[in-house]
């Protein structure tokens, strides 16, 4: 089983709405990363949040980390069609970056 897992396989919202993708992980971590992968492209990191941080922002993106419940969330406000992608959380374990299964987010016009 994955060390980090997104909680939903797919989400769909209308453009302009806000959306949150959730992730849970199973081991002690020093940091958690959120990546976005658009169709046919390689992933790109959105946010890296360290274990001593509770929240981190990057433009319309906001990530939270709750080490007590071993969970993280990525919120996107004012969604745009170009936010359509698969969103992965990822954590390091024994030197390897382990990705969750991903949440496919579709933004409808």
């Amino acid at each position: 089983s994955q060390l980090a897992e997104e909680n939903l396989w797919a989400l769909s919202v209308h453009e302009g709405e806000s959306v949150t993708v959730n992730c849970s992980y199973k081991t002690s971590i020093t940091a958690l990363q959120w990546y976005r992968q658009k169709s046919g492209e390689g992933p790109a990191q959105l946010i890296l949040i360290r274990s001593n941080e509770r929240e981190k922002r990057n433009g319309r993106l906001r990530a939270t980390l709750d080490t007590s419940s071993q969970s993280s969330s990525l919120s996107i406000t004012a969604t745009r069609c170009e936010d359509t992608a698969v969103y992965f959380c990822a954590t390091y374990n024994q030197g390897k970056l382990i990705f969750g299964q991903g949440t496919k987010l579709s933004i409808k016009p």
Partner: protein, 112 residues
């Protein structure tokens, strides 16, 4: 600025044939390099990593091998393709000591 280039963009190969995929990073010296495999609709699975020229560590055994002949080049290969090798191959790099990985555009492989 650093750039990462993968070649070829896509390949269709026969079962049992050899394969060589390449990755080049420009603008960064001595990066850590990684190969990942992704099934269609699946997650990313790390295959190999390298922290220096000539040294490659295997993470998952998939009848593939990797080499780092130059500081900026990472090669993934096999002498005999299997149907299960089909998928999306991604090369990534990270600066030494940093957690963020930067991914290339990928190579899509179909084995028939």
């Amino acid at each position: 600025a650093q750039t990462i280039h993968q070649w070829p963009v896509a390949e269709i190969k026969a079962v049992g044939s050899p394969l060589s995929l390449g990755c080049t990073i420009k603008g960064k010296s001595s990066p850590n390099l990684y190969w990942y495999w992704q099934a269609t609709g699946g997650t990313l699975q790390q295959l190999f990593y390298s922290i220096t020229v000539g040294q490659v560590e295997s993470v998952v055994q998939l009848n593939l091998s990797a080499s780092r002949p130059k500081d900026d080049q990472f090669i993934l290969s096999t002498e005999k393709l299997l149907l299960s090798h089909s998928g999306f191959y991604l090369c990534a790099w990270s600066p030494w000591g940093q957690d963020t990985q930067y991914f290339g555009p990928g190579t899509r492989l179909l084995v028939l």
